[in-house]
């Protein structure tokens, strides 16, 4: 299992290949890519940039804890989480979550769990710029609800 928090871009296909190369027990690999979209609560096309701030140290710790939890709950072969920080433009990749398993259900469910949980637990904050104005993105109740469905 791997967690990476980095400024630089990543290559989704290369990461998927690396995780699955030579593995014959993997029947399913689920890939989630999070991208910067060019609208938020405002009009389409209005977001000029998004800057992600994080808490070095705690961010990695939290992501690793979330990954450990996923591995306890589902029979995963492997799992990769890459999350970027710094200034990004619309269309840029922000986050990559890949889960691999013998069967698709575990890979799908664990992937959704990881994304839902990292959105509510990993210390990242988004700052958007539109029309020369900067605005910190508010946390969404819908994200808390999405994460809460995994409570047990």
């Amino acid at each position: 299992m791997t967690v990476r928090v980095q400024q630089q871009d990543f290559d989704t296909a290369a990461e998927l290949d690396r995780l699955t190369a030579g593995q014959t027990r993997i029947g399913a690999a689920v890939t989630f890519s999070g991208l910067v979209r060019d609208f938020a609560d405002t009009a389409p096309g209005s977001t000029q940039s998004m800057t992600l701030e994080h808490y070095p140290g705690m961010t990695e710790r939290q992501l690793e804890a979330i990954v450990s939890e996923a591995r306890q709950r589902w029979p995963l072969e492997d799992c990769l989480v890459i999350h970027r920080y710094g200034r990004l433009a619309p269309g840029d990749r922000i986050v990559l979550v890949i889960t691999t398993s013998a069967h698709r259900q575990a890979a799908f469910e664990a992937n959704a769990f990881l994304v839902d949980w990292l959105k509510t637990k990993a210390p990242f904050w988004k700052l958007e710029e539109h029309g020369g104005e900067r605005r910190w993105v508010d946390a969404k109740e819908s994200d808390d609800e999405a994460a809460a469905r995994w409570q047990r």
């Binding site: 999070g34 808490y55 705690m58 994304v115 959105k119 990242f124 904050w125 988004k126 946390a139």
Partner: protein
């Protein structure tokens, strides 16, 4: 005790980091937040709305009753918005 601020709360407090020595009666996260609010108008503006304040002690999330002590790394930040 080292205090780190992030995102909107960092901007409101006006610093990313400060080292403080609170009085002995500051024993918990809640005590610390109340004491920090008295330090400046910026601290007050950052910390007044408890619903928008999250705390981590030594890089793990902490509730209001969690003890704090000298040497701890305390991070104070708004609800997270990654992913």
């Amino acid at each position: 005790m080292r205090i780190l601020y992030f995102a909107l709360l960092r901007e409101r407090v006006g610093t990313a980091e400060e080292t403080v020595s609170p009085p002995a009666e500051v024993k918990t996260v809640a005590d610390l937040l109340a004491w920090l609010r008295s330090r400046s108008a910026g601290h007050e503006a950052a910390l007044a709305n408890a619903a928008l304040v999250r705390v981590a002690v030594n890089q793990d999330y902490a509730g209001p009753d969690q003890p704090v002590q000298a040497g701890d790394e305390i991070a104070i930040f708004p609800p997270v918005t990654g992913g």
